[in-house]
């Protein structure tokens, strides 16, 4: 990002290659709509590009990028005419099941992994959006509570509670369904 700020345009391509996939994966979980998620990936990188000259390395780049994405996602989720994710959750679940890395040997293990993945995906989609965001950013993207708090504009204590409630709900789902 510092290279981009200094005018090296190729640094943008490197950032896009490294982070567009994880960002799309996150936004797909937040929005439950692949097309909208893709649009927001594009918008997040455009905002990043527009703000490149103001970038200060006070936070990790990933925190900065996911903070931009969070604001976009939460705005999108509050749009009045947005299609409810639950309207399409069945279709989405059927059309884009959680793609687990099913490299384990044996059909049983693959089937089990797929069932587990589907169950977690459904439970994740059912979480309140801030719980979903807090858990994903912490458990998957490795952000600290302080970083997530900055990203969600809340306190570390609140993030701790959000993460724990979300993780507990998913654990209970796994226990019940698998």
């Amino acid at each position: 990002m510092l290279a981009l700020r200094a005018g090296d345009e190729s640094a943008f391509d490197a950032l896009f290659r490294r982070w567009s996939g994880p960002l799309l994966r996150y936004l797909e979980r937040m929005l439950r709509d692949a097309a909208s998620a893709e649009e927001l990936v594009q918008e997040a990188f455009l905002r990043l590009y527009r703000a490149r000259e103001r970038y200060e390395p006070e936070a990790r780049f990933s925190t900065w990028l996911f903070t931009i994405a969070n604001r976009l996602a939460l705005n999108e989720l509050r749009r009045p005419h947005r299609r409810s994710p639950h309207e399409s959750s069945d279709d989405d679940a059927a059309g884009a099941p959680l793609a687990l890395a099913a490299e384990q040997a044996g059909v049983d293990e693959v089937v089990h992994a797929r069932r587990l993945g589907d169950a977690v995906e459904r439970a994740l989609a059912a979480l309140p959006e801030r719980q979903r965001a807090a858990l994903w950013l912490t458990a998957v993207e490795g952000l600290s509570y302080a970083e997530v708090a900055a990203s969600l504009e809340t306190t570390e204590k609140s993030v701790k509670a959000l993460v724990h409630r979300a993780r507990s709900a998913l654990a209970e789902t796994i226990d019940t369904e698998v």
């Binding site: 345009e9 896009f16 799309l24 959680l98 993945g117 458990a139 600290s144 796994i174």
Partner: protein
């Protein structure tokens, strides 16, 4: 919390914080000691850990290449007029007026007339370079067309330098010398130059120099020749 025994309540939320590495050393030791002694909290810790494993197993999706192309076009549009990607090396110098005109065209007139069939081609805009440089850039037109142009450029055996494509015109301009390249840049139509610049930016051609620009112009001529051959 429902279902949490009273003796475990002081530790329950910290089980998550333990997994996240968010406890200080003293608190971490206390939570671990409790979990070691409590079957319920040990099981719960394992269950919480399995959630993380399941989430991390979600594959990173493949981002459509068109997205990068569209972003490159948007970035080109956002760049201040006259400011292009830094040039790693420069072999030919564009005349200043022509460079400004080409930049304005690339920003404002991203159309792919050469690669669309004659019926779809917009009418050329016969403006003088100075007028083009001053005109306000209109909204970006169909970045998907740039993607199509890039895709089609793959029809050529070699886009940058080297041998001409089979079936390419025998008089395809050579790119071997400064003089020839400069002459080609100067004689290129505004439309062709704008398209070549747009393709260069959209494709993220690293050098972004004038030699690469001449090669893009060559590639466009070769694609024209392929089209002409197909129609003939």
């Amino acid at each position: 919390m429902n279902g949490v025994p009273e003796r475990c309540l002081p530790f329950d939320e910290d089980l998550s914080a333990l997994l996240d590495g968010e406890l200080d050393a003293g608190r971490e030791a206390a939570v671990r000691a409790h979990a070691d002694a409590c079957a319920r909290c040990r099981a719960r810790l394992a269950a919480l850990r399995s959630v993380d494993a399941a989430l991390r197993a979600v594959e990173i999706p493949r981002v459509r290449p068109e997205l990068a192309v569209q972003l490159a076009a948007e970035r080109a549009r956002l760049r201040p007029p006259g400011r292009r990607a830094p040039r790693a090396r420069r072999r030919f110098a564009l005349p200043a007026g022509l460079a400004a005109a080409a930049a304005a065209l690339a920003l404002g007139l991203l159309v792919i007339p050469k690669l669309l069939g004659p019926d779809e081609r917009p009418a050329p805009a016969p403006l003088a370079p100075s007028a083009l440089a001053q005109r306000e850039a209109p909204a970006l037109v169909a970045p998907a067309r740039i993607a199509e142009a890039l895709r089609r450029s793959g029809e050529l055996p070699k886009l940058h330098g080297g041998a001409s494509a089979p079936g390419s015109p025998a008089n395809a301009p050579a790119t071997g010398g400064d003089d020839a390249g400069l002459a080609q840049l100067e004689s290129a139509s505004d439309d062709d130059l704008a398209l070549a610049l747009a393709l260069q930016d959209a494709a993220g051609v690293d050098s972004a120099d004038d030699l690469a620009l001449v090669e893009q112009l060559d590639a466009l001529e070769q694609l024209d020749a392929l089209d002409a051959g197909g129609r003939g």
